[in-house]
């Protein structure tokens, strides 16, 4: 961490500093910023007075690339945005293009998609839990989390050969038929996993240090959360019971029973509890879904060359980090005229300043962790 007064023309650095105030630069290579996020903090002693996030270090121009690829060619690129939840990214994109085409995925596809996406949500939350705990100083959970995450990645690997950037789905259906023993493996994982979540909770939920470091830290109330467009677990921890899987169901979510966990105060501890409960609910959805996977084709008839009629569509899903939306404009050719991604991490990160003001420098690390951002998605 170095002094950043020499750098640039941002509002934080150009404002007049009080007698006891300093500017502290955090990142972009700081390990607890989860990638290349740079934060400029204006401090009065240990208190954060003002902050500014500087992003774009991972900008690859995904939206521009989309305009120069066919609809099918662009599908693997979306995996590289939120690279710890590639399956969810793919689901959102494939469903958006299907909507644009007027095609509908067959029932078998929808159920398999639901299972894989929920497993991905668990994997994403596990990665979040491990690293978030590590940031705050709890060294143990990360090993436990990666142990279970590995099981999920093995299922992905057996299904499509890839662990991270899976490209699991195709526009109109699935890339592959499920492998022999898929149902049993998912079931076994889910049955064991219930006890594993309890295990994590014994490490953290009543741990005095954990509670001390998270309770009352980075509070975001419901009104601010909505005004800032925050979605996902961060919104639910502020007491808003809203989940796209229930509000505007997609894939096969309307067939399954699950709860939307919420918490009242919107602090870091509540966000932790919401995500823990979400993992339980995801497990519940998976168990219901593997019980009864319909038989039938895995691809709808969409044609080899995808040429959606002119027009536009917005489709969004509940990704592990919040509402992931795709706004696609077609001009009737084989390439999209415009693809806009509504990235949950980018928009949730905007609430960082609100959460961080008035907190201690040490809590900044907890707040960055609790928003659960992936810089690949923030910068695209």
């Amino acid at each position: 961490m170095t002094d950043a007064r020499t750098n640039g023309s941002s509002d934080v650095t150009t404002t007049v500093l009080g007698a006891d105030e300093i500017i502290l630069n955090m990142g972009p290579q700081h390990p607890s910023t989860h990638g290349v996020l740079r934060v400029k903090l204006k401090l009065d002693g240990e208190r954060v007075v003002d902050s500014e996030c500087i992003i774009g270090y991972l900008h690859r121009g995904v939206e521009k690339i989309a305009e120069h690829r066919s609809y099918a060619q662009f599908a693997p690129y979306v995996d590289r945005m939120d690279y710890v939840a590639a399956v969810s990214n793919g689901l959102g994109y494939c469903e958006a293009v299907e909507k644009l085409l007027g095609a509908e995925a067959p029932p078998r596809t929808r159920v398999v998609r639901t299972i894989l996406t929920e497993l991905q949500r668990i994997a994403s939350h596990l990665l979040w839990l491990g690293t978030h705990a590590l940031d705050i100083g709890a060294l143990t959970p990360v090993f436990y989390c990666f142990r279970e995450r590995e099981e999920i990645l093995k299922i992905f690997e057996k299904y499509c050969g890839a662990r991270l950037t899976t490209h699991a789905f195709r526009i109109g259906g699935l890339q592959y038929e499920t492998y022999d023993g898929f149902e049993e493996e998912v079931k076994r994982f889910c049955e064991d996993f219930a006890q594993k979540i309890d295990e994590y909770e014994t490490l953290l939920t009543e741990n005095r240090i954990w509670v001390g470091r998270t309770k009352g830290v980075g509070i975001l109330n419901a009104a601010d959360a909505i005004a800032l467009g925050v979605t996902g677990p961060v919104l639910r921890a502020s007491g808003v019971k809203w989940d796209l899987r229930k509000a505007q169901p997609y894939a096969a979510y309307d067939q399954y029973e699950f709860e939307i966990p919420t918490r009242p105060t919107g602090d870091t501890y509540d966000r932790y509890l919401v995500r823990m409960e979400e993992m339980r609910q995801s497990r519940r959805i998976c168990l219901q879904a593997v019980e009864n996977i319909p038989t039938g084709p895995i691809m709808a008839k969409v044609g080899k060359v995808l040429k959606p009629p002119p027009g536009e569509v917005y489709h969004s899903i509940e990704a592990p980090k919040g509402e992931l939306g795709y706004y696609i404009v077609s001009d009737g050719t084989t390439q999209p005229y415009r693809v806009r991604v509504r990235p949950p991490s980018f928009i949730n990160l905007q609430a960082f300043d609100k959460m961080a003001r008035g907190s201690l420098v040490a809590d900044v690390v907890a707040i960055i962790g609790t928003i659960d951002i992936v810089l690949g998605e923030v910068d695209r």
Partner: protein, 217 residues
């Protein structure tokens, strides 16, 4: 293909590929009858795709009664409501949508470039109402260098979204508290998501100066 941007409704040349199914004829916006669950049965999915059609529901009527000429057009595309409005009335309409129509969340704000059109940019505000569980897309046309009213005071979420729009398209938002680039470096030349910004193009001078490398392109 995308290098040759066309007008909003490009000439719909009938697809030559037979696998494409029925030709894209401008059908009335028949509500997409749920495609058959088993794709083996006809008709092929393409046949049920609704073309954009006019929209006239209570919300649109209320908007028209209140803002008159500023509401240019309302369409329904893929069952989604789109209202084309006058750019200079954007802030009033946005505030009305938030306060009276309960569209309390700005889900997304973005733009689309149609360089051959007189006013080349579409500004798109994607709104969501928790109370109604409904989405509404506001669209406004803006010419190059024409300032568009900022929505930051209505939805703080618009702050970064408008900065991104400015960064990628060069659209100026009037009343934005701190309009500057967000993803690209401050000194970058050009706005990459404009259609006349080639995909191979980049700010070579910036790259040479700041990264110390010659661009491989």
């Amino acid at each position: 293909m995308a290098n040759d941007p066309s007008e909003k409704v490009p000439p719909s040349n009938p697809p030559k590929d037979k696998a494409e199914g029925a030709p894209v004829s401008p059908k009335p916006a028949a509500p997409a009858a749920a495609a058959p669950p088993k794709p083996a049965t006809p008709p092929p999915p393409k046949a049920v795709t609704p073309a954009p059609g006019p929209l006239d529901n209570e919300l649109v009527q209320r908007l028209k009664a209140r803002f008159g000429e500023a509401i240019h057009e309302a369409t329904l595309d893929r069952k989604q409501a789109i209202v084309l409005i006058a750019a200079d009335k954007l802030r009033d309409i946005a505030r009305y949508c938030r306060d009276e129509e309960k569209f309390d969340m700005l889900t997304d704000l973005t733009a689309v470039d149609w360089p051959k059109r007189e006013r080349r940019f579409d500004i798109i505000l994607n709104l969501y109402s928790f109370a109604k569980n409904e989405r509404l897309r506001l669209k406004a046309h803006a010419a190059e260098n024409e300032p568009v009213p900022s929505s930051v005071e209505i939805w703080p979420a618009a702050n970064w979204l408008e900065r991104e729009c400015y960064d990628m398209f060069g659209i100026g938002f009037e009343g934005h508290p701190d309009l500057k680039r967000i993803l690209l470096p401050d000194e970058w030349e050009g706005h990459p998501l404009r259609k006349d910004y080639d995909i191979l193009k980049q700010d070579t001078a910036w790259v040479r100066e700041n990264l110390g490398i010659e661009s491989g392109q």
